[in-house]
C-alpha cells in the first residue's frame, strides 16, 4: 500500500479532456433524441397490421436488446466498413448507440401504451379523430409521465454506453482519457477523474428528471 498518487499530470491534461467531455454529452443527447424518434416508430410498427413492417420493427428491437452494445459498435464500425460503407468512428458510435437506445425505448413506450386504457383510442375514433390526432392529443400527454422513469434510465444508459467509443478509437471522454494517460502512465488517477465526471453527468440527468417528474405530478394535482 505505498502507491503515491500524482495528480499534477491529470490537472495539466484537463484541457485535453474537455473536448472529450463535450463529445460525450453531444453523443448522449443526439443518440437519445434520434433513438426516441425511432423508438416511437418501432413501437407503432410492432403493433402494425403490415407484416413486413412488423417483422422489421420486431427484429430491430430484439437484436438491439439481445446483443452487446459493444458488438453493435463493432458492427457499425468494422462490419459496415467491410461491406464498403466507410463510416467515421463518431458516426459509427452514434449510429450504434441510437440503434441500441431505440430498441430499448421502444419497449418502454410499448409498456407505457399498454398502461393506457385501449378504450380511449376507440373513444377518440368515435369523436371523429384520426389515429394521429388520437395519439397526439389523447395518448401522448398521458404517455409522457408513464414512460418518464424508463426513458430517464435509458438516457443514463446512453451516457454510459458512449464510453464504448474508446474501443474504436473515438476521442470522447473515455477515449480522450485513454490517450492522455498513455502519455504519462498515470492511468489510475486519470480514470478516477473520468469516473467522477461520469458520475456527475449521471447525477445531473437524474436530478433533471426528478425536477421534470415533480413538474408533472404538480400539474396533475392542480388539474384534479
Amino acid at each position: 500500500m505505498n502507491y503515491h498518487f500524482q495528480w499534477a499530470p491529470v490537472w495539466k491534461a484537463l484541457p485535453d479532456l474537455w473536448p472529450g467531455l463535450m463529445m460525450t454529452i453531444e453523443l448522449t443527447l443526439l443518440s437519445f433524441a434520434l433513438g426516441a424518434v425511432i423508438a416511437f416508430l418501432l413501437a407503432w410498427g410492432k403493433s402494425s397490421a403490415n407484416k413486413t413492417a412488423m417483422a422489421l420493427c420486431v427484429s430491430w428491437i430484439e437484436i438491439a436488446r439481445n446483443t452487446p452494445c459493444l458488438f453493435q459498435i463493432y458492427m457499425a464500425y468494422f462490419g459496415l466498413g467491410a461491406a464498403g460503407i466507410n463510416v467515421d468512428s463518431f458516426y459509427a458510435v452514434l449510429g450504434a448507440i441510437t440503434f441500441n437506445t431505440a430498441g430499448y425505448l421502444a419497449e418502454v413506450i410499448r409498456g407505457g401504451i399498454e398502461g393506457i386504457d385501449p378504450r380511449q383510442q376507440r373513444a377518440g375514433a368515435a369523436l371523429g379523430m384520426d389515429r394521429w390526432q388520437t395519439f397526439s392529443r389523447i395518448i401522448l400527454p398521458q404517455l409522457v409521465p408513464l414512460i418518464l422513469p424508463g426513458a430517464g434510465n435509458q438516457l443514463i444508459w446512453s451516457l454510459l454506453n458512449t464510453s464504448l467509443g474508446m474501443v474504436v478509437g473515438l476521442q470522447e471522454l473515455t477515449g480522450a482519457t485513454y490517450t492522455a494517460q498513455s502519455l504519462t502512465f498515470r492511468s489510475f488517477e486519470f480514470f478516477i477523474v473520468t469516473a467522477v465526471a461520469y458520475y456527475a453527468l449521471a447525477k445531473i440527468v437524474t436530478l433533471t428528471l426528478h425536477a421534470i417528474a415533480r413538474l408533472y405530478s404538480g400539474r396533475g394535482r392542480a388539474q384534479a
Binding site: E62, I63, T67, L70, F71, M75, I156, L160, L164, Y198
Partner: protein
Amino acid sequence: MNSVPLFSGLQYSDATYLLAGAGHTLWLALWAIVLGTLLGFLMGWLRSVSRIGNAIIVVLVDVSRSIPLLIQLIVANAALAAFRYPLSPFACSAVVLTVYMASFCSEIYKGGFEAVPTNLQKAARSLGLSYLQAFASVSAPIMLRRTFASWIGIVLGVLKDTSLAAVIGYIELLRTSQIIVTRTQEPLLVLLIVGVFYFLLCYPIARLGAKVEKGLRQ
C-alpha cells in the same frame, strides 16, 4: 523472393477458437451471475432490515450504476496493479462484474423483501417457525418468485457486459472474433457469427423472462 501472404483466410481451427471464446464468455458470466446473485441477496436482505446497512450499500449501488462498466473495469485493474496486488484479467473482471451484478440485484431484492406482507411473516412466526425458518420457507421463496423477471433482466445485462472484459485483456468471444478478424480481414462474416451466438444465448432467456412476467401478472 517468395511473398508470404499477409492475411490468411478463415480456417476450420477458427471455429474451435471461436467456440473457446464463447466458453470463456460463458465461464465469466457464470461466475459473475452466481456470485453476484448470492452477494446481491445478502445485500438486499441487509438493506431491507437495517437502515445503516441500506445507507452504506446505497452508495455502492449508486456508484456502480452511474459510472460506465468499462471505467469500473479499468479503474479496478489499475488499482490492483497500483497497490501491487495484480489479479488475472479473468479474476479482475469476475470481481467487478460480481459487484456490478450484486448492486443491481440488491435493488430488486430489497424491494422484494419489503413487498412480502408483514402479516404473512408474523403468521409464520406464530406457527412456531424461528426467524431463519420463516425467512427460508416463507419470505425468501415469495420474494424470489416475485423478482424473477427483473432478475432475468439483470442476468441478460451481465451476459452482454462480459464483452467489456476484453478491454482489460480477457479473451472472451468478442475479443476472439477481433483476433480472427485481424488475421483474416473478414470482419462482416466473423462478427455476424458472433452476433448470432449472443442472440441465440440471450433471446431464449429474454423470452423466458417475458413469459414468467406475464404469468405473474395473471
